[in-house]
């Protein structure tokens, strides 16, 4: 986090802004992957994906609290976080698979607007279920167990937590890329994304691959939920909304349907909110405080869409037989 006393314009200042941008960007990227993959296979914007992220955050929270909360220390911190990530991935996966089965599959052949409305309905349902049904409007707080401290070299400085966030999300994204590119399921998912009919003629169970796509995207979102909790501490039922919309924005910026696009779009959006906003502040007369980061982010979306409607990584149009 940027300490307020850093001189604006110093090397330390820009280095901090960059690290902050990469940190939030890594969470956006993890969540954006689910949007882009589901869009790629169903041409559906899964508006409930932000809530899949939220469920992951709560599953991770539950594991950390069960293992002792603030009392977790030493090597157990690492074990606890790995278990929290695993639980989050599993809980998000089950949630997403259930949403697909209940809210989307029955509408597979309905007009495009129907599953979209269904998605928005699921999103509102889940966030209110958690906030009003379980938490009575209050937030929960992630135990602060991650070792504090910074790694610095010259003007560069990064906290252990930020390093962990950026590093672990890159590892997870590499893992996803490997699954999609190299495994039998990954190939089948890509085939279904191009043509459901032709994939079925290969002997691929199309419904299963659609579920697999939701599950893979959900695992990434669940991981993102835990990282978000570790970084920002406060979690609640409606926490998925803004990161969800931002991650969707990142997916569109990158080129919806493209996996590398979602990653690049996520980091690009994170950096725009921090470094980009401060760069604008360099213009005489401009003063955009941190609260304006959302304005900057969505203004960027509009500008990019005007000049490059297909996003950074244009997804080749699939020929439909």
């Amino acid at each position: 986090m940027t300490p307020l006393f850093l001189a604006h314009g110093s090397a330390e200042f820009w280095s901090d802004q960059t690290v902050n941008g990469l940190t939030t960007g890594s969470i956006y990227a993890l969540v954006a992957l689910g949007y882009t993959m589901v869009y790629g296979i169903l041409q559906l914007i899964n508006f409930a994906h932000g809530e899949v992220f939220m469920v992951g955050a709560f599953a991770g929270y539950g594991v950390l609290v069960a293992l002792g909360g603030e009392d977790i220390s030493g090597v157990m911190v690492l074990v606890a976080i790995i278990l929290a990530l695993a639980a989050a991935g599993a809980a998000s996966a089950v949630t997403a698979a259930t949403i697909e089965r209940v809210a989307y599959r029955p509408l597979r052949n309905a007009p495009r607007l129907a599953p979209l409305i269904s998605a928005i309905g699921v999103s509102i349902f889940l966030s209110h279920l958690v906030d009003d049904g379980f938490l009575d409007g209050k937030s929960k707080f992630y135990p602060q167990i991650f070792p504090t401290g910074d790694l610095s070299a010259g003007p560069l400085s990064i906290s252990y937590l930020q390093l962990f966030l950026i590093g672990s999300s890159l590892v997870m994204m590499a893992g996803l890329y490997w699954v999609v590119q190299r495994t039998r399921t990954g190939k089948a998912i890509r085939a279904v994304s191009e043509s459901r009919e032709n994939a079925a003629l290969m002997g691929i169970d199309v419904d299963r691959m659609i579920v697999a796509t939701f599950v893979l995207g959900a695992i990434m979102a669940g991981f993102g939920g835990v990282l978000y909790g570790l970084f920002l501490s406060s979690i609640r039922g409606s926490m998925g909304f803004l990161p969800g919309v931002k991650a969707f924005t990142a997916a569109v910026l990158g080129g919806i349907g493209s996996i590398p696009g979602a990653v690049v779009g996520g980091f690009f959006l994170g950096l725009t909110e921090s470094v980009g906003r401060e760069l604008l502040n360099e213009i005489p007369g401009v003063n955009l405080p941190n609260e304006w980061k959302d304005v900057v982010a969505f203004a960027l979306l509009v500008v990019v869409l005007i000049f490059r409607p297909t996003g950074i990584f244009r997804q080749r149009e699939t020929k439909r037989a």
Binding site: A191, E197, N198, L201, G203, I204, A321
Partner: protein, 236 residues
């Protein structure tokens, strides 16, 4: 017993009934062709067999088992592979990945040997192994589509207009390949507008018009039939 047996098959899309009570059979080791003009119901017949559309009436039996209404991937696992109209290449997947998907349901140890066999049949595919499917020419895509279907080791191969959109030279090549596959003992149901080539290669043939079978016989007999010659072989 016939390997594939259609009886009284009715199918269509929305308000349109494209095939109106078709009966045909394919015996093991046979090459059977279904010829007819554009819109006669040829592709609909194949799509019903492979489960892409659900028949409204009638029966489809494969190797003694009723398959109408089954899911396409379950029909593939019984041993039917279709080369779809327009080839159905996955353009963002490499040639090697397309071929691997052809063997999606196989877990035996001979997939690799079959890949080598496919590359012997189509040396061009070997050269283009790591290229994206979408970068291939029309003829190469057709070779890939046939090679991919063979990777499933089907008991029955359904070919939907393999000559469509190809130059005469390439059509010759594709038909020579079909002849070779046939010599290896495959059972084929071939749907074609190119009646001359289809009748030449087929043991038996059916003529379909407006969703109804109007003629049937051996390939040689139909090639001599006056009405077929007038309607499909461009003779007056």
């Amino acid at each position: 017993m016939a390997l594939l047996d259609l009886s009284g098959l009715v199918a269509g899309y929305g308000g349109i009934t494209a095939i109106k009570g078709i009966s045909l059979e394919v015996d093991p080791g046979e090459v059977v062709t279904l010829i007819g003009s554009n819109g006669a119901g040829k592709s609909t017949t194949l799509r019903a067999i492979s489960g892409l559309i659900r028949p409204r009436a009638g029966r489809i039996t494969f190797a003694g088992k009723a398959i109408s209404g089954m899911k396409p991937h379950d029909i593939v696992s019984l041993g039917i592979s279709q080369v779809p109209e327009g080839r159905g290449i996955f353009s963002r997947l490499t040639v090697a990945e397309n071929l691997a998907l052809g063997a999606f349901q196989r877990h035996d140890g001979e997939v690799h040997a079959d890949l080598d066999r496919t590359f012997r049949l189509f040396p061009r595919l070997k050269e283009r192994e790591n290229q994206l499917g979408g970068t291939l020419s029309g003829g190469e895509q057709q070779m890939l589509a046939i090679g991919r279907a063979l990777m499933a080791r089907p008991k029955l191969l359904l070919l939907d207009e393999p000559s469509m959109g190809l130059s005469p030279v390439l059509v010759e090549t594709i038909f020579a390949t079909i002849a070779e596959i046939r010599r290896e003992g495959a059972t084929i149901l071939l749907v074609e507008q190119n009646a001359a080539m289809a009748l030449e290669i087929a043991d038996r043939a059916y003529v379909i018009e407006s969703g109804v079978i109007t003629l049937q016989g051996t390939g040689a007999a139909l090639a001599q039939d006056d009405s077929v010659r007038r309607a499909y072989l461009g003779e007056v």
